[in-house]
């Protein structure tokens, strides 16, 4: 989902940056408030950030003969609600853009919009929906993690289609092409990410029960 540096036309680069900025600022305030009001959350916030940091560094092979990487943003969104991930996800993207030449500064806004904003919100929605329908914590975590991953890549495909519409079939045709690159490759990764999320939350439910209860993830 990393759109490479310089690969969005300037108008799109600016547009996505302007669109993402308020979410990231709001996210920074959400993180600051969480740390100030609940200092005991700092450990779990670190875990959520670290989880994204690890997962977005790992390129995994997929059934299509391509490789891609997970995003890991669902865990933090479920624990702390999505705004927190707008900051943490953007920090990860900035790190990769500056030090790893992966993604870029001009495409940071667009990449943050897909990975740090749409992904966490979609994942959080899937988690809440699963819980609302009577699903337990772990099924909810699985759905939330997997959907956050998939939604990120669908968003990237649509962003690219918007910037590079097909000469004959327009936006829709281009969307099909970009989704063809990203979507199917991403399905096994999303499932894998869901399973990793379940593993993480199984550890947390045993060892961080007080925090999960305070955050409303587990009933006290």
């Amino acid at each position: 989902m990393h759109i490479a540096e310089g690969f969005l036309p300037p108008a799109h680069a600016i547009g996505w940056t302007v669109a993402a900025a308020p979410f990231v600022v709001h996210g920074a305030r959400a993180v600051a408030r969480e740390v100030r009001e609940n200092p005991e959350s700092t450990l779990l916030l670190g875990a959520a950030g670290a989880f994204t940091f690890v997962l977005s560094a790992i390129k995994l092979p997929s059934v299509t003969g391509s490789s891609s990487h997970p995003t890991g943003t669902g865990a933090g969104a479920i624990l702390f609600r999505p705004p927190v991930m707008a900051l943490l996800g953007t920090v990860v993207l900035l790190f990769q853009a500056l030090l790893l030449a992966h993604g870029g500064l001009t495409t940071l806004g667009a990449n943050a919009f897909s990975m740090a904003i749409v992904g966490p919100w979609a994942g959080y929605g899937a988690y809440r929906l699963t819980r609302g329908l009577g699903g337990g914590l772990l099924p909810g975590v699985f759905a939330g993690m997997a959907v956050a991953d998939l939604a990120t890549y669908v968003t990237t495909s649509l962003q690219l289609a918007l910037a590079f519409p097909d000469a004959s079939s327009g936006f829709a045709g281009a969307a099909v092409k970009f989704l063809g690159v990203f979507a199917i490759t991403q399905i096994p990764l999303a499932i894998g990410e869901g399973l990793l999320g379940v593993l993480l939350f199984r550890v947390l439910t045993v060892n961080a029960r007080p925090e999960l209860e305070r955050l409303g993830v587990l009933k006290s």
Binding site: M1, H2, I3, A4, E5, G6, P9, P10, L43, L44, G46, A47, G49, A50, F51, T52, F53, V54, L55, A57, I58, K59, P61, S62, V63, G65, S66, S67, S68, F95, Q96, A97, L98, L100, A101, H102, G104, L105, T106, Y153, T156, F164, P165, A167, A174, F178, V181, F182, I191, G192, L195, L196, V198, L199, V203, L204, T205, V206, N207, R209
Partner: protein, 112 residues
């Protein structure tokens, strides 16, 4: 092996299988990153498009690049391990101080 531990092992095996099976069964494929494929599609869509900005860093050799990705994963893994270790240690301390209240909490299915 208790049930909880069995589920953990199965989950880990599931994740490994999910990525090992395509590698083994898929035969030769070059596993290009989707990000690079997307760049190729962009150039097909608009052959005249020139990136108008370049990475702050000069292009890295693939080996250096994969090393840096490994550093990123290692940093994240270290922090995650530290946090989970502290949480686990904290629980051990708490359980020792409330010593031997059997079935304390809903997860009283034995030590891990």
């Amino acid at each position: 092996m208790n049930r909880r531990r069995l589920v953990t092992v199965l989950l880990v095996l599931g994740v490994v299988a999910l990525f090992a099976v395509p590698l083994i069964a898929g035969g030769p494929a070059d596993y290009t990153g989707t990000d690079n494929q997307a760049t190729t599609v962009i150039q097909q869509q608009d052959p005249g498009y020139e990136p108008w900005f370049h990475s702050v860093l000069p292009p890295l050799s693939p080996s250096v690049e994969s090393g840096l990705f490994a550093v990123q994963a290692a940093l994240g893994g270290a922090v995650l391990g530290y946090v989970l270790g502290r949480l686990r240690g904290r629980r051990a301390v708490r359980e020792a101080s409330t010593s031997e209240t059997p079935g304390a909490g809903a997860t009283g299915d034995g030590p891990q």
